[in-house]
Amino acid sequence: MSRFAPIQHPQPQNNAVISDTYSLGFSDPTDSYALHSKKGLDVAMIERISAEKDEPAWMLATRLEAYKTFLAKPHHVWLPGTHVLNFEDISYYLKPVNTRPQSWDDVPAYIKNTFDRIGVPQAERDHLAGLTAQYESEKIYGSIKKIWADKGVIFLSMDEGLKQYPDLVQEYFGKVIPTGDNKFSALNTACWSGGSFVYVPKGVHIDLPLQTYFRINAQNAGQFERTLIIADEGSQVTYAEGCSSPSYSTASLHAAVVEIFVKKGARVQYITVQNWYKDVYNLVTKRAWVEEEGHMEWLDCNLGSKLTVKYPSFILAGKGARGETMSIAVASGDQHQDTGSKAIHLAPYTSSTIISKSICKGGGRTTYRGMVNIGPNAHGSKNKVVCDALIFDPESRSDTYPTERVFTNDVSLEHEATVSRIGEDQLFYLISRGLTEEEAGKMIVRGFAEPLVKKLPMEFAVEMNRLIDLEMEGSVG
């Protein structure tokens, strides 16, 4: 019951916690797929994926090694939730069409229609420097505006990147996230497909974002995209990813690996608006290698999925390198957002900031897990961690697990953590001015998210506010 309903007339209890507001939960038929792998993963399946992509031998060898590592690796003991995943019940490779469409017009009508409903092609025309749309395991469409292509910017799917720039890929692939980093990075390395390959030449500043949109369509689908971004010296790029999936009741698995190289004086901003349906296990490893005076910024928004495990990280390897993570997680009902960040300082005068905001309600759970590691050569370095959790009701839960390892003197570390129950006083104040309880809740949550949302490009900010509003609808109280 609404806490602010008139006391004399209690209203019937509304037990629905997961709001019925997910607008992207539709699905397309899968019977026309060029390849819909049987469920489960084995050596033959991996060889098949590699053959489909006509890969160099070293990549197949890397995949097969990774598969062994995946089988051998245990689940993280500290992480509840992933062990219930049935790896036999996932389809690992789904190829919707045989030959990749050359233009938007060649895309099959049903897929085009899906991306139209999501609003992806319009986005490209209006405010992006380039766009890739991935449907299941494969890129279905991609383009980069001519002015950037002419300056030597490369924006391809990872498969195309491997084909066209095999040496470049081999030099960087798996170098900041080794295969065995964790069970899911090993799984991704074994069966990866799609993802983005980005190269920004020295000194090129791309003023609009490059975006990739990921769509899962089939039931029990696995999506294992692999992204590699190389920002050469003095370059600047913003890369954004969005995603969605149909509303099924069985588990889908999204296990991505994202590796980023920020060269001397370069700057990379990586934006994620994660809006999977609430049946998706989203287990993602993201890490950046940052050289002298380089700047890596993760803006990570997690609203969807059943379980998200993701700690975007940076290794500050060069003097004066900077890393920032600003994240927001919203969990309701059965959702668990286990997010955070890792800052590894290897060089002197490096600085990092981690700001983590989370909102949980209706039984949702958020966890901050963070690590700050300041190595013996990182004198004069600075780190600041701020965790703010907003808890709506006693059924919801928020935990903070910070770890600090410092191997040198002369560093500055700050840690602040605040946990607030959403203030009844705040709600009442707004309601007493004429806002309904739902409007008041939205307003407080928007205000809470504002420091992050205002850093997003306008279109993403609008989208985030819309998603936050949807999350709050019919669920306060």
Partner: protein, 242 residues
């Protein structure tokens, strides 16, 4: 007319108000004085509809409609306003955006947001509210005096039919009290608002010139009077009646 009739209220099972009667006509200013803990804020929260304050008996009528069944947001939209004794801070929500949403909740969609913002700036100026405060997060890091002034700014913007100001004068210096009293009088004149001013201090009476003063002790109005009673209290306080 705002008609408070024989209102009895308990909080967490404890009786606080034991039958309070007050009637306020449009454009009237009433003051309620009384010692700490006598139930003044309880009356204010009860009018606004705070769920913690349980009405055990009596009636509250706003222009003939019983509002006790109404949720607090509906009461606000019907024309009630409470200036809080302790305004809360809300990060990331600017005063002007919040007031726009509240205004639209009450009066419907604005024709022009720009006009509304201009109008707010004018009101802010009249109430000596620093211009930049209107763009900042609601009460976030405001001084005590700034918070109180912004409460009155909200009242001016939302044009209530009836308003309760809960110790808006506490913690303010004489100049600030004067500004606020003038601001309130201007709102009363312009919108015919009926106002209940809850106060500890007789000094605000001098600037507000209330039509009536009530002394509340232990959850009851023990004495009420008109202008001459107000003048008496302004000189010598309510201590003699407690």
């Amino acid at each position: 007319m705002l008609k408070i009739h024989n209102v009895q209220v308990s909080v967490e099972g404890k009786h606080i108000l034991n039958g309070v009667d007050i009637e306020i006509k449009p454009g009237e200013i009433h003051a309620i004085m009384g010692p700490n803990g006598s139930g003044k804020s309880t009356l204010a929260y009860t009018l606004a509809g705070h769920p913690k304050y349980h009405v055990d008996g009596g009636e509250i009528g706003l222009d003939g409609i019983n509002i006790l069944d109404q949720s607090p947001d509906l009461r606000a939209r019907s024309g009630l306003f409470l200036a809080f004794q302790y305004p809360v801070e809300i990060a990331g929500v600017s005063v002007q955006n919040f007031l726009r949403v509240a205004y639209e909740a009450k009066f419907g969609k604005l024709k022009s947001i720009i006009e509304f913002r201009k109008h707010l700036q004018e009101l802010a100026e009249e109430l000596h509210v620093k211009k930049e405060l209107v763009e900042r997060s609601l009460n976030d890091g405001f001084s005590g005096g700034e918070k109180k002034r912004v409460e009155i700014l909200q009242m001016a913007a939302l044009q209530p039919k009836y308003a309760v100001l809960d110790e808006t004068d506490s913690g303010l210096d004489v100049d600030a009290i004067k500004t606020i009293a003038e601001g309130v009088r201007a709102i009363v004149k312009k919108h015919k608002t009926g106002v209940i001013v809850i106060t500890h201090y007789q000094r605000i009476l001098k600037y507000l010139k209330p039509d009536k003063v009530h002394v509340m002790v232990k959850g009851k109005i023990i004495k009420s009077g008109g202008k001459s009673f107000a003048q008496e209290l302004e000189k010598s306080g309510y201590a003699a009646y407690v």
